[in-house]
Amino acid sequence: MSLPEILPLGLDALLVRFSTTWSEAANTAAQRLAAALSADPLPGQTEVAPGLGSALLRFDRLKTTRAAIVGAVRDRLDHAAAPEDAARHWLVPACFGGVEGPQLAAAAALAGRSETTLISELCATNLRVLALGFAPGQPYLGTLPDHWQMPRLPALTPRVAAGTITTALCQIVLFAAPSPTGWRALGRTAFRPFAAEAAEPFLLRPGDFLRFTPTSAENIAMLIEKGDPLGGAIRSFPK
């Protein structure tokens, strides 16, 4: 991969852009750079965020200059040490099909697989959090094999419930809040990636790994009823 572009993003931020089209390598590079900058901030740095193919770096104009921060980022890119593997893993119970996943059959048909095969394949995949966005805490997960390359629906579904698992473009979005969407709904979890009132408002971080574990719709309904944002998820974190 060639060197990323460093571009102005408003007056107090810059964008380190690894790619303008989807690339797993660019996404990983953006997450690595953001992790390195978070662990060892540059003078004047106020915020760093990894995106799908870029990293945002915000700075305090009273403490540094754009020229200084651009120079420091270049230097960091040249000498970035490979960070230790500190990936965090999540196992999230989910139910598929039925009222919670009305487009499972259509998605399976597009993928040329049976519903059962499609779900087994999904639940066997360690999905990476590619980015959080569109709603607070909401993960874009991926990526899945090529037969998951499904276009968005021609018409928006007016509302999917929080916790709905949807797919398009070899990715999964796990909705953090009720929302309209053009993605196909496959199933549902009781996992709430953003809960403002919780001690830990955001459960996921970019770079985390998440795997769905199939369970019944009754179990998911019970977990939703319980109201714990974790929704029965099990986590395994380093250290």
Binding site: L9, L11, T21, L52, S54, R58, F134, F194
Partner: protein, 337 residues
């Protein structure tokens, strides 16, 4: 004495706003906060605060309020028709509001967002470090009639009322724009045309303002473009070639290409543009923008230099005959008297 701001009546869309929640971009949470941030800094200057406090934001709507403890208030942002117990109050100024007095705010002739600030700030519950209302995330305090909003004690209720000369950012005009990461995705013809176009403000919300124009839609190349970071001030070109200026509550990531970014100093001018208001985009180099739009932390000192003691405008003195105008005159030789 701490007190409550009692909401006797309130139009739709009134909310508690401060400077929002910076620092959560990685988690997909917008900073949000006041649509016209300058208005909160003006209130801070008028009330002698060290920085902006949570205030009420009134979008093209009115309300009636009372306080349970005396407090200075500041009225900033889009000029509204304000009155205290039926007597007009000067906008862009601080005033003392005593318990029992009724404060009425109604939309004025220009601008969108008016602000009512209290000297001790609104003390509604904080979430993730701020009180700002972000409807999409269910954060903050939407305001409706019957609410009682706690506020902090006024540290100096006897301080003399202050006034700021009105700044005209409520009737449209030029929005200075710097290039952004996606400016180069637009061809020269499209960019040239965008900066020569006479726009008018279209439908708007706290998330964005549509810029309407009579010419052809703007050409955008979006196929395969990866979603990337967006922020307030960005000028997004939607799939149909419609320009939208993103405002305080915009999302953190978006898939539409962006022509550039309106500088922070000019963004209130966009937020305050009523439907139909004339707006144009003016491209300026980054270094010029850095000089023109200083960091927000420096705004307070600049605004403070403009403060003037509030004197009554003779036009507002309905009881003019009661004033002893002559006895206040000087002869010029009474210095040693």
């Amino acid at each position: 004495m701490t007190g409550y701001l009692e909401v006797i009546s309130a139009g739709p869309g009134i909310s508690v706003q401060d400077l929002g929640r910076p620092g959560y971009t990685a988690f997909g949470l917008s900073t949000g906060g006041a649509a016209d941030r300058r208005a909160l800094w003006e209130a801070a200057a008028l009330l002698g605060q060290s920085g902006p406090q949570a205030a009420l934001e009134l979008p093209l709507t009115g309300g009636r309020f009372r306080v349970t403890a005396p407090s200075r208030i500041a009225l900033t942002g889009a000029p509204m028709q304000a009155s205290r117990d039926g007597k007009p109050l000067i906008w862009n100024a601080s005033h003392l509001l005593a318990p029992g007095e009724c404060l009425d705010l109604r939309p004025g002739e220009s601008g969108v967002y008016g602000y009512l600030s209290l000297a001790g700030g609104l003390l509604t519950p904080e979430t993730l470090g701020a009180r700002a209302t972000l409807a999409a995330a269910g954060l903050g305090t939407p305001v409706h009639a019957g609410l009682r909003l706690p506020f902090g004690a006024d540290p100096a209720p006897d301080a003399a009322p202050q006034h700021l000369p009105p700044e005209d950012r409520f009737t449209g005009g030029a929005l200075r724009v710097i290039a952004g990461p996606q400016t180069a995705l637009f061809d020269t013809e499209t960019r040239t045309r965008a900066f020569a176009t006479r726009f008018r403000a279209g439908p708007a919300s706290r998330q964005g303002l549509a810029l309407l124009q009579d010419g052809a839609a703007f050409a955008t190349e979006t196929s395969g473009l990866l979603s990337d970071f967006i922020g307030p001030g960005d000028i997004q070109m939607t799939g149909t070639g419609q320009a939208v200026v993103l405002l305080a509550d915009c999302q953190t990531i978006g898939g539409y290409p962006r022509l550039g970014t309106v500088i922070p100093l000019d963004l209130p001018r966009a937020a305050q543009a009523r439907p139909g208001t004339a707006l144009r985009l003016v491209e300026i180099p980054l270094d010029a923008a850095e000089t023109a739009s200083p960091p927000e932390a420096l705004w307070l000192a600049q605004i403070r230099r403009l403060l003037r003691p509030l004197t009554r405008d003779p036009r507002d003195m309905t009881d003019l005959l009661a004033y002893q105008l002559i006895s206040g005159m000087i002869r010029g030789d009474e210095e040693d008297a």
